[in-house]
Amino acid sequence: MTAIQNKPVDPTAHLSDEDVEALGRELDAIRDSVLADRGARDAAYIRKVIDVQRKLELASRGVLLLSLFPPAWVAGTVGLSISKILENMEIGHNVMHGQWDWMRDPKVHSTTWEWDNASPADMWKHSHNELHHTYTNVLGRDNDLGYGIMRVDEDQRWMPFYLAQPLWNLLNACVFEYGIAAYDLEIGKHLKAKKRGTADVAAFQAQLRNVLQKVKKQATRDYLVHPLLSGPSALPTLGANVTANLVRNLWTHSVIMCGHFPEGVETFTKTSIEGETRGQWYLRQMLGAANISGGEALHLMTGNLSFQVEHHLFPDLPSNRYKEIAPQVQDVFARYGLTYVTGSMPKQLASAWGKVVRLSLPNGFLSRRTAKAVPVALVQRVRPARAEERAAA
């Protein structure tokens, strides 16, 4: 894949400026129809999810007090994993998007919510809501593209470092909550600024302190307090908490990969969004996200990010509405001749991982060679690249 502006055939070339604005108006109309009808049913939905999640968490932690018994360990770990996933995805992510602010309940509001994740709510809201959702899939602006450690687009220059990116990606998936925290801290940006001498060190350190404090609290809860409360079951409970966090990390990482990485999702050049109109913004969101097809349980466990396209078009609409408007959104895609990217979770995951592997190598590397010739060719590629880097440094 290549940024849409650099492609030989631009998939939006058939749309005139007026078409794009008309498309924007149609999407606005879908949004307005949901706003007009938003009410008691939606409020009851999120309250129910919160209620179920908290009871599930209490029950799971209760069962884990006896985690010395294998059936209790299994039941408690499964319950806690599901509870943590619900808390992060359908509740935390969506509440912090302001999807439920209209209820005016101070307990369920984007300005007061704190989630079960290493990244403090304030910091996450800035990097996710303001940066990622504004600069969706814009190369060099949207840090969600590869989290600054991966090559996710042919247009990004290849470096030997990227050879190991399948490994980075797997490691990042395992510790994803810390990955998010590190990346919300914008460590890379800070280091660059430091080199130039323009860094706001005090501000960075304050943020770092916040993160460490949050990490400490979270770790104390999962790895100290609850194990100790389990008495003789302390070790199995510790294991259960580690497992639940790992499961949650792997799951959320996978869902997010499926949202922006599968083949068919477009990226955009930095300059292409200057002076973007509302219609153009919508168009970029339409092409920059992919859905996951599946049943009710999948939608719930992905926090309805299985409707990533709808979420990116309308980030602050209540998540339970995405599946209801999906047919209308698909209809807009069809009538304007655009591709609505969707597929089952295994298919989208395979596609996204395939891309991570493919882009770990220089462009077109595999297609030009037989499998046997790859290792030799790589070594030849790495040496000059290294030399180039040293020369640059």
Binding site: G39, D42, K55, M103, R104, D105, P106, T111, E114, K217
Partner: protein, 365 residues
């Protein structure tokens, strides 16, 4: 035998308690233990104050009494006082104020409010027509100084209209046995619209109060000359009045003109609005929201509509529950037209429920 409590156990107890609280907090983070306890008992002591609807009793075709079980943190009330209720209507939390109509010390600990549905009224219609027993509402402690003094006045006059009977009913139900001479002049469109009609008429029949009913659809509005004629000893009476703005303005003028201003106590259900601001862009800087508000829309309403968590209370300028720092800009007080301006960093406190934008302004919320 006398026991002497050694001082160390007394101080050890709270320390143990503190530790347990800390432990519970560490186990619950990022939530607080209360979030889990609320799942089980939202009315427990120590919880944010709430109330559960026990019964909804129709009073007239557009009024109903809601009997409420307040949470254990409820501190009681003085008859005549009101409470703030947070009611979720169509999923949106709305705060309104209602006078308590139940006697002060009911043996069962329940309290009651009586609501009259007004045309297009969001909360009043919901409470009268759609509220159901079992629903939990948000509650605030009772407040207000529209109450009977101690010692009780020898002669009392109550002038009420429509739902304005509510605080007076609370007083009569609690303290009628301490009042020797009570006149109640109550206005309602028709005999059927009189809230608490049966109870009031029974009290009158028993000679406990003198009740004058005005059915305004046929009798017309109560006039001051008429009131003087109905209550010849008006000047000797301590008076309480509650009803629509027009009636209260009229009565206040009348008492003043007769040199009796200090003897009339009024309770208003709506703010007195005289002025409009110029309107402007309102920024809620901490939330990061920005809205265009016209000169007649209170900042409180503008903020709520933008999804900002605005603090609020009586919504009519008496409780100061809605006060926020104005970081910069200009607002106009809707009650008297006064202009308040703030320069960057001033943080002048303004009552958002009775202030509207008078140009661009920036609130610290």
């Amino acid at each position: 035998m006398t026991t002497v409590t050694p001082p160390q156990t007394r101080s050890a107890r709270p320390r143990l308690r503190d530790r347990l609280v800390k432990l519970a907090e560490a186990a619950a983070t990022p939530l607080v233990p209360a979030d889990y306890l609320d799942l089980v008992d939202p009315l427990r002591s120590g919880a944010a104050l709430r109330a559960r609807i026990v019964a909804v009793q129709p009073e007239t075709r557009d009024a109903a009494t809601l009997v409420l079980q307040p949470g254990r943190g409820w501190a009681g009330h003085v008859p005549g006082q009101y409470v703030r209720l947070g009611v979720d209507v169509d999923g949106v939390r709305q705060w309104r104020t209602y006078s308590l109509t139940s006697p002060a010390d009911r043996a069962d600990g329940l309290i009651a409010i009586t609501v009259k549905a007004i045309p297009d009224g969001v909360v009043s219609n919901h409470l009268v027509r759609a509220a159901t027993a079992g629903t939990v509402l948000q509650l605030d402690q009772a407040a207000g100084d529209f109450v009977l003094p101690t010692p009780r006045p020898a002669k009392a006059l109550f002038v009420t209209a429509g739902s304005g009977i509510t605080p007076v009913m609370g007083m009569l139900r609690s303290a009628l046995h301490e009042l020797d001479d009570v006149v109640l002049v109550h206005s309602a469109p028709t005999a059927d619209d009189v809230v608490f009609a049966a109870e009031l008429r029974a009290l009158a029949a028993d000679g406990r109060i003198r009740l004058v009913e005005k059915h305004t659809d046929v009798d017309g509005m109560l006039g001051t000359a008429e009131l003087d004629a109905l209550v010849p000893d008006l000047a000797e009476r301590e008076a309480w009045a509650c009803g629509p703005t027009g009636m209260l303005d009229l009565l206040e003028g009348h008492w003043e003109s007769r040199g009796l201003a200090g003897r009339l106590h009024t309770e208003r259900f709506r703010p007195l609005v005289v002025a409009a601001g110029e309107g402007g862009t309102v920024t809620f800087s901490r939330t990061g929201a920005e809205v265009e508000a016209d000169g007649a829309t209170p900042l409180l309403q503008a903020g709520e509509e933008a999804g900002v968590l605005m603090p609020s209370g009586c919504r009519m300028g008496i409780c100061f529950g809605c006060v926020l720092p104005l970081r910069s800009g200009a607002v106009r007080d809707l009650r008297n037209g006064d202009l308040t301006t703030a320069a960057e960093g001033d943080g002048v406190l303004v009552q958002t429920c009775v202030s509207a934008a008078a140009g661009p302004c920036d609130l610290d919320v």
